[in-house]
């Protein structure tokens, strides 16, 4: 009983509580500082190391014809796998816009749907809505609206009616849009992209490939993607030309631009308008 009284009034519990509080503060500070450059993302890129150019080459083709910006015949292909409900993909949308503005027809930028259906219940519907808009030649308009308004629709229970509003905004034939949103054509395109994503070993979104080489997430900044593109432009540039160095810079696009015209005829008419943007 003496022990009980002693322990009841002792300072021991307060010392323990004090230590725990200090440890908590130190822990929060330490993780918030040291985790800044990579932290969790490092484990993700470690997971993604099995992806090689070989698995990329053997992967299913994805939706045909693919949605792309830039030039069909560009030697550098930038391929993004993204999920409309993923906040990191929303940020990547801005990054990719900068890349496309900088390189234009020097590159071919391909967008692939990879909705993470296990964790993002609205992502698949969003991908289908984008593809349904694509069937009327307005994939990129819808894609842009979905990313820029992600916070609005992703927390709404009636997201489908919001997608319909976007469809109206960009001037789609609403009957066709609502049919396509339920029909097999848009869905099979999303599914084909997802199969390609599985084939190339996507573990997280967004994932960017530059000529088949996956970029680590922390490398997928404007600067990081530019560096990867420049390296590929340099590698694929014809060495006989005097200005092969210039191919690595941003002003070598004029020659490729012309190739874009005939190639647009190879893809479906519905898409060629938006591709040239």
């Amino acid at each position: 009983m003496e022990n009980e009284n002693k322990s009841g009034k002792s300072a021991a519990p307060f010392i323990i509580i004090g230590l725990i509080i200090l440890a908590t503060i130190a822990g929060i500070w330490w993780i918030s500082q040291s985790g800044a450059p990579g932290g969790e993302t490092n484990t993700n890129s470690a997971e993604s190391t099995p992806r090689t150019e070989d698995t990329y080459a053997k992967a299913p083709a994805g939706a045909v014809p693919e949605h792309f910006k830039g030039s069909q015949t560009a030697t550098v292909v930038v391929e993004e796998f993204a999920d409309f409900q993923c906040p990191a993909c929303r940020d990547m949308h801005k990054t990719v816009n900068e890349i496309n503005a900088a390189y234009g027809s020097q590159i071919k930028f391909v967008f692939r749907n990879y909705p993470l259906i296990q964790t993002h219940p609205k992502a698949y519907d969003a991908a289908v809505a984008a593809e349904a808009a694509g069937l009327q030649g307005k994939f990129w308009e819808m894609q842009n609206l979905l990313f820029t308004n992600q916070e609005k629709w992703s927390t709404e229970p009636n997201h489908r009616s919001i997608f319909a509003e976007y469809a109206k905004t960009i001037g789609l034939d609403m009957d066709k849009f609502s049919q396509d949103s339920l029909g097999i054509n848009a869905k099979s395109r999303v599914d084909a992209d997802m199969q390609r994503g599985n084939g190339v070993g996507i573990r997280s979104t967004p994932t960017i490939f530059v000529n088949g080489k996956p970029l680590a997430f922390e490398q997928s900044t404007v600067e990081g993607i530019k560096a990867a593109i420049d390296a590929e432009l340099k590698r694929t540039a014809p060495k006989t030309e005097e200005n092969s160095d210039a191919a690595g810079n941003n002003n070598a696009g004029s020659g490729d631009e012309k190739k874009d015209e005939p190639s647009a005829g190879n893809t479906s008419n519905s898409e060629s308008n938006s591709e040239k943007k």
Binding site: I28, H120, P121, T155, S204
Partner: protein, 153 residues
């Protein structure tokens, strides 16, 4: 462990429960501290195939009045840990306060689960770990009370 030498079974149940509760509260504390750190860190994280954390932690429910939701968890678990520890060291009157706290925490947790399931539409495992520890704390308290009541009858 002088406290466990107490003879009365009621006291013993309360002590054992409070030690267990303190341990569980520490798990919850570590979890919510990690989430708070991630919030302050602000690193952009890619969306993984299996985890919806990014969606949940960047949702409009990740903060209340500018304070990260996880920080409320840190405070609650610190308080729960302190109350459980003090109970274990003999201040048995605090066990009821601990009980009241777990009721509030459980109510908050159920609301957060509802938000993840029906509003945000994504689950985050670290948030679910916290939900599990909170419900465990509540269960420990309820069981200790039921056991205590039986013994004192």
């Amino acid at each position: 462990m002088e406290a466990s030498e107490i003879k009365q079974p009621v006291k013993q149940t309360a002590t054992k429960s409070s030690v267990l509760a303190a341990v569980v509260a520490l798990i919850g504390l570590a979890d919510s501290a990690y989430l708070t750190a991630k919030h302050f860190n602000g690193t952009k994280v890619p969306c993984s195939i299996v985890s919806g954390c990014e969606t949940v932690l960047t949702s409009s429910y990740a903060e209340f009045y500018g304070i990260p939701t996880a920080a409320f968890g840190v405070l609650a678990y610190l308080l729960a840990f302190s109350l459980a520890l003090l109970t274990a060291f003999g201040s048995r009157g605090l066990w009821n306060l601990f009980g009241a706290l777990t009721v509030i925490m459980t109510a908050f947790t159920l609301w957060l689960i509802y938000l993840q399931a029906f509003v945000i539409g994504a689950f985050c495992q670290f948030c679910l770990i916290s939900a599990a520890t909170t419900i465990t704390l509540f269960t420990i308290y309820v069981i200790s009370r039921l056991a205590g009541a039986k013994i004192s009858q």
